[in-house]
């Protein structure tokens, strides 16, 4: 028996789960029936649900999932110790995303500036490195505290303008990242 999940918005229970690499899962959650994923009915049932943890049963195998973080419609889910990122879109928001990407001329180069004055104590990347969003770029020591500055985007380190030991002022350009699409 599937758990009842009722979603009132727009009477639509159809979602598109989009991963960072652009992989998509079309998920339809009907009331009192098995979910339909990518147009195939999957006999998945929910055995347990506590806080943000689900235990699914599928093909005789148990899958323990844990929602690590959520921000609006973006979720980080851990299944069997491995982390996945999905943004949950409705049909309209998915189409909107596609439309905007096609017509966008998104900023190619992202500048990373020092948020406060301080001393560069560590630089974790080199020119040409691929960094993921959230990965540490460099350490800035200020107010007797180490501030780890992480990357705001997934991209490639285009150029580094400082070296370890440099004293920098606020908003000084530390490094530049090239934005890579998708």
């Amino acid at each position: 028996m599937a758990t009842r999940y009722i979603y009132k918005r727009d009477a639509s229970r159809l979602f598109i789960a989009l991963s960072e690499q652009g992989k998509k899962f079309k998920i339809y959650l009907p009331q009192d029936a098995y979910p339909i994923i990518n147009n195939e009915e999957k006999e998945i049932t929910i055995l347990e649900h506590k806080y943000d943890n689900f235990c699914f049963l599928w093909n005789g195998k148990k899958y323990f999932t844990h929602i690590k973080s959520k921000d609006q419609n973006k979720y980080r889910v851990i299944v069997n110790g491995v982390e996945f990122f999905f943004s949950i879109e409705s049909i309209s928001s998915y189409l909107r995303r596609r439309m905007l990407e096609e017509s966008s001329d998104s900023k190619k180069t992202v500048s990373i500036q020092a948020p406060i004055p301080g001393k560069i104590t560590n630089i974790f990347v080199a020119e040409g490195d691929l960094v993921n969003e959230g990965e540490p770029l460099f350490n800035l020591e200020a107010m007797k505290m180490q501030n780890e500055i992480t990357s705001p985007i997934t991209g490639i380190v285009k150029s580094i303008h400082v070296k370890v030991g440099d004293n920098v002022i606020k908003e000084q350009l530390i490094l530049e990242l090239s934005n890579i699409n998708e």
């Binding site: 009722i6 999957k42 599928w58 999932t65 979720y75 999905f86």
Partner: protein, 498 residues
């Protein structure tokens, strides 16, 4: 034998493991409580706890030799077990214990000292007839000397620090142009890390396997070997998985290697536990690397195939007992594999994880041995190393051992932080591991974090996220919010009062 008070100068899973044996032998287990690890699970199992009370500026107790000895004396301790890491291979600490009248559970401080200097170890190995990796005889003092040796043994070559390991002070030199630059860099790094900038040079082995032999000796000159372990799955020179015996040796090779190890130990006059490390090249040649004088993290796999309790024998040997068995009495039963479950994220370059362990559950399996230093609610910080637990599986052959370990990993559940559990599932299923051909460069050259993604896990994740999203908007769509209506509407009341 009367009960001795044995102090363990260590923490985490090894403290728990040593406590177990101490209690089994009827002795008293004493531990330290560090201010940086106040609620650790090992404290619950000890018979007695000594509060270390370190201030923020102090060293952590496990690294403070003088304080340890002082506290041991005031608490009437008989013997000290250093565990692994921390001060276990510090000859000064061993000497201080002995001078204070305590029995140090380990080898003679002189042997700790000698084996700590890689060049001395190699000299002795050569004298005894062990094969060495072609390289410098002892420390290389100048660039010119280095160049001479390079000409003799050829490139690529490896610069190594004489004073310590773990990859520091180490450089691979591919060609003559790099030699001078890397020589200077490695010297500086070694100086900073160990206080000793001496380097020695070896031929660089391109696809090496790491094989080590466990030996056990008493204070009466008897030494036996307990077979070998293969520890080739490493990342930045840190071992992650070990197995006993090694899939890369034939039975004949195994015996002769063991004999060589015993020969080395006897030549030294060594007693207690020790591990002699070898490196194996692509042509299956074995070369002596170094000797470790501490009890190693991976000792359980050896215990499983021989049926011996190594900690027990360390204690007995320290008390002067004679080994009651000979080499022919040492069995080799089945196969054992150990996985080090570290709090590291294999999806993100193995970066260390910090945070609370929400829950940690290992399955029950008759052939599974668990050595865990943490429990639900333990906070993992950067204060100590990231190893949470060791999983050891012992089966009658290697194939079955791999199968069982995979089953155990599949049913292990750890929430709150990410661990290497999914990584080991990938390793144990990979043909390189199954065939036993993996080398110490496997993680660097072959492993990719995309291997961790299983399509069905990904789909379940998408489903879970969608359900969570749908459920979150239930209350926002109006189900759970209501107003506590009083009889009079306040808005109207306000107007009437004006």
């Amino acid at each position: 034998m009367e009960a001795k008070k044995i102090l363990i100068a260590n923490r985490g899973e090894i403290a728990l493991r040593i406590i177990r044996t101490i209690k089994k032998l009827g002795h008293v287990a004493v531990v330290f409580r560090s201010n940086r690890d106040k609620d650790a699970p090992y404290l619950e199992e000890a018979d007695e706890i000594i509060d270390a009370n370190e201030s923020l500026q102090d060293k952590v107790i496990f690294l403070d030799a003088d304080k340890i000895v002082e506290l041991a004396k005031t608490h009437n301790i008989d013997m000290i077990h250093p565990g692994y890491g921390f001060l276990s291979e510090n000859p000064d600490f061993a000497r201080k214990c002995i001078e204070a009248g305590l029995i140090f559970i380990g080898p003679h401080p002189d042997h700790i000292y000698q084996m700590g200097i890689k060049t001395i170890a190699k000299e002795i190995a050569e004298k005894v007839g062990l094969p060495l990796v072609p390289g410098s005889k002892g420390v290389v003092k100048t660039i010119d000397e280095a160049k001479k040796i390079a000409r003799k043994i050829g490139y690529p070559l490896l610069l190594k620090a004489a004073g310590g390991g773990g990859g520091r002070g180490m450089r691979v030199v591919e060609n003559a142009d790099q030699l001078e630059r890397y020589f200077n860099a490695a010297t500086l790094e070694a100086l900073n890390a160990f206080g000793n900038g001496d380097l020695f040079i070896e031929k660089y082995i391109e696809n090496p396997k790491h094989i080590e032999v466990q030996i056990l000796g008493d204070q009466h000159g008897n030494v036996v070997h307990l077979w070998e372990r293969e520890c080739s799955l490493q990342r930045k020179h840190q071992k992650l998985l070990e197995e006993a015996p090694s899939p890369s040796l034939t039975d004949r090779k195994r015996s002769s290697l063991g004999k060589l190890a015993v020969k080395f130990a006897k030549a030294l006059g060594y007693y207690s536990t020790g591990t002699i490390e070898f490196i194996m090249d692509e042509k299956k040649n074995l070369y002596f690397m170094e000797m470790n004088t501490r009890l190693q993290v991976e000792h359980p796999v050896t215990e499983e195939i021989t049926g011996l309790d190594l900690v027990e024998w360390q204690i007995r040997i320290a008390l002067g007992e004679k080994l009651p068995f000979k080499q022919k009495d040492i069995p080799l039963n089945g196969w054992a594999i150990e996985c080090r479950i570290n709090a590291e994220d294999p999806q993100n370059r193995f970066s260390p994880e910090t945070g609370f362990i929400e829950s940690i559950r290992f399955p029950y399996h008759p052939q599974l041995r668990i050595e865990s230093g943490v429990t639900d609610g333990t906070y993992i910080s950067t204060n100590f190393d990231s190893m949470l637990a060791k999983l050891i599986v012992h089966e009658k052959n290697r194939k079955k051992a791999i199968e069982s370990m995979l089953k155990v990993l599949e049913e292990t559940r750890i929430t709150g932080i990410k661990t290497l559990v999914p990584f080991f599932k990938v390793v144990l299923s990979h043909p390189d591991f199954v065939k036993g051909t993996y080398t110490t460069h496997w993680i660097e050259n072959v492993f990719q974090h995309e291997m961790l993604i299983r399509p069905e896990d990904e789909m379940i994740a998408a489903l879970a996220a969608s359900i969570a999203y749908a459920m979150e908007y239930l209350p926002i769509a109006g189900e759970n919010i209501h107003i506590q209506q009083d009889n009079i509407n306040f808005w109207v009341l306000n107007k009437r009062l004006r």
